[in-house]
Subunit: 221 residues, 2 copies
DNA sequence: TGAGTGCTGTGATTAAATTCACTGTGTAAG
DNA sequence: CTTACACAGTGAATTTAATCACAGCACTCA
């Protein structure tokens, strides 16, 4: 019997990134009581070509009704299943500084299926205190808390010093995914993933784009 | 005659994103007093192939010394010029909430050439107060402050409601680049750029990756 | 009921990004 | 001086991503 679903699942990472976008829009549509939507409509809403949207959906076995389009609720649910957010999952946070506290108080993660279940810090002033309803643990408790709370993803918002060591401990405790806000390159073994959010790099990209634009117009005129 | 520099500058966005990574590592190396580095060394440090690194550097006219490699300081400077961060540039911040305050208090932006010169909020309790050394303005002052302070980039960390209107006003005031933390699709005219940072989407990507991994091992065993 | 419409799913094609692989060159060692 | 070596730069090949374009179907309406 088939261990995998109906279709062979070769879903590229580019597609997965877009699936997140689609799903966010589908949630909005669902809230607006839209039941069905056509590929060209959704594509226009999220800024991709209709062909690409259909291709993305076809990469797992999606079945859109030809006349009415795709079922909004069903597609949203299917994407959640692909991504793995059909049930809430716990994540851990390392570093309860300015950024860490902002993340803790943010409601948006829950809406998307992620619950920050535990926070860790080295600062004795912070350990034991409660931030946005969650207690801050000492780093000593890292391994036990990760296991007890079944945490699968670790968000890194601490100082760069000693961060690699924390990652290594996380890996040893079974964590395979890290979301890293710290501008520092981390190394993880095969089969583990570090997703880096570099805000400065995004600013640099914007800086390049508008400068590019400038150069073009200067040349053009 | 040549309207552009020595080389034809067709620098792709993928390349630009990597240039940011290279430059960050080059700064570290420079601090460690490394003067020259070979493509395969830097490539290994940042996790790309040597060929890709050389290709990226070649996309603008880079001249590495064959025997010693690339000059660390010079390459870093050149990348800054490409990106446009060779001189400090002002950015504005809309929304001084939890996230906005974290951004305001973050020192890392200055190190990479960006200065948050002004913050704006609608909350009367916040307007007029000073956060991390910068005064919070009323939104009424948006246009004048953007122009007076020569702000080129606007960072969006407000509530979704009314955000499009603020973007429109920014565009009208000459802003072409927006860094958007708000989970809401924005529309801008041709020639303007919105860079979206969706933390939940990054978590979803990680969720997918580790689930993918799970599926694989299940099938394999 | 049958022609017309407009959609999905997908093979074929094009475009883009990455990697391969080699050429020419500077360096150092003998 | 000569030889051996290692690397930068780059055309060519390969891989990957995006787009085109059309077959076939479900629905509408005369
Ligand atoms: N604040 C921002 O807007 C922002 C933006 C981009 C990146 N970052 C990065 O995120 C990280 C945190 O930023 P921040 O502004 O919150 O800094 P912060 O100084 O306000 O907070 C850092 C927190 O991490 C804790 N910490 C330090 N070392 C630790 C360790 N080894 N283990 C656990 N906790 C540790 C500290 O006690 C402190 O509470 C930094 O590395 C920063 O570079 C921050
Ligand atoms: N906090 C996080 O970790 C996080 C993560 C991802 C995305 N975001 C997004 O960033 C935005 C801000 O998050 P936050 O946690 O700081 O929220 P917050 O509620 O703490 O702060 C929002 C701030 O924006 C101000 N504001 C509201 N409407 C405004 C407007 N039209 N113009 C100017 N200012 C306005 C409010 O007065 C408030 O000060 C939200 O849209 C949120 O979805 C936050």
């Amino acid at each position: 019997m088939a261990p995998t679903d109906k279709k062979d699942q070769k879903v590229s990472l580019h597609t997965v990134e877009r699936l997140s976008v689609y799903r966010r829009k589908l949630e909005e549509l669902s809230a607006d009581e839209v039941e069905y939507i056509h590929s060209h409509q959704l594509a226009a809403l999220v800024g991709v070509t209709p062909a690409q949207l259909r291709r993305d959906l076809a990469s797992f076995g999606s079945y859109g009704n030809i006349a009415r389009g795709y079922g909004v609720k069903q597609m949203s649910r299917t994407i959640s299943q692909i991504i793995g957010t059909d049930s809430m999952q716990n994540v851990g946070l390392v570093g309860v500084g300015d950024l860490g506290r902002a993340l803790l108080s943010y409601r948006g993660f829950e809406e998307r299926g992620f619950h920050i279940a535990a926070a860790f810090d080295v600062d004795p002033d912070k350990v034991g205190r409660v931030f946005a309803g969650r207690r801050c643990y000492s780093l000593d408790k890292l391994e036990t808390a990760l296991v007890d709370l079944q945490i699968r993803i670790l968000v890194l918002a601490a100082r760069p010093e000693g961060l690699q060591e924390i990652v290594d401990r996380g890996v040893a405790a079974g964590i395979r995914s890290f979301l890293n806000f710290v501008p520092k390159t981390l190394t993880v073994p095969e089969g583990c993933f570090v997703e880096h959010i570099d805000i400065s790099a995004k600013l640099e990209k914007l800086s390049f784009l508008s400068r590019q634009q400038n150069d073009r117009t200067e040349v053009a005129e």
